[in-house]
Amino acid sequence: MQTKPRLLTVLDFVTAALFVLAIGMVFFYAPLEAVMGQVQRVFYFHVAAGWVGMLSFLVAAIAGVVYLTSSNRKWDIVSLSAIEIGIVFAFINIVSGSIWARPIWNTWWTWDPRLTTATVMELIYAAYLMLRQGIEDPDRRARFGAVYAIVGFVSVPLTFFSARLFRTIHPIVIGTNQAGAEGDFDMTPMMLQTFMFSLLTFTFVFADLLWHRIRVGWLAEKVEQLRLKTIQ
């Protein structure tokens, strides 16, 4: 049985407290948006989930580079853990965005550049998990995984900049919106504070989940090694 580091317990509590506070700010502090109404509140966690998704894929790519230069398997676990978390949060981002879009764009889905690139990004990383499942040798799996995490990262800036590079109806949070953007709004100071706090909270959620997932990865590695030892 692994002993839980005290710092991780502290991080758990801090993250939980921040999360409760962020929920409070979203529902009770941020004002009601004048045109979109209550559904605009989805925006705070929708963007924050997208941020965690992209941050996770960045961490995975960096861990991939470090693995290729060091061949230390712990970096493979970091990369895998980050990608798994990234997939979860990118999924939240896509689905919550679709729910927001229904009353604002009058459709659940449209093949807009931002929505399309975000979906492609999600599928690229889902394929990463499938690739890993198909490789038996752990070192080969880690090497292939590292290369895939680095190459797959190309989809992240493409998704981020898609709303700026291509004609899109997706609103841009930071920067100027295109003429065709629908559902954009001017953030009041209270909205901006809630938004920034949500980003901070989700960064903590990411750090906390990543630590927990890495521990599960370590444990799986230990079990695998012991199993091989027992068989021999």
Binding site: G37, Q38, V39, V42, F45, A49, I92, I104, V216
Partner: protein
């Protein structure tokens, strides 16, 4: 859709659906992490027992 409106649109149901997805998926992931950790710990104990007996 929202031209000439004098009050915010009634989109409460969509907000509830959005946050149900956000919290639901996060909760499922947390449970999955917890279950995996518990199962791996059990596997580890069993394998240690087997190793000791050998």
């Amino acid at each position: 859709m929202f031209f000439l409106q004098d009050a915010p649109a009634n989109t409460l149901n969509y907000m509830i659906a959005g946050y149900a997805v956000i919290f639901g998926v996060m909760l499922i992931y947390l449970i999955s992490l917890n279950l995996r950790q518990r199962n791996l710990n059990q596997d580890l104990e069993v394998l240690k027992d087997v190793e000791e007996k050998d």
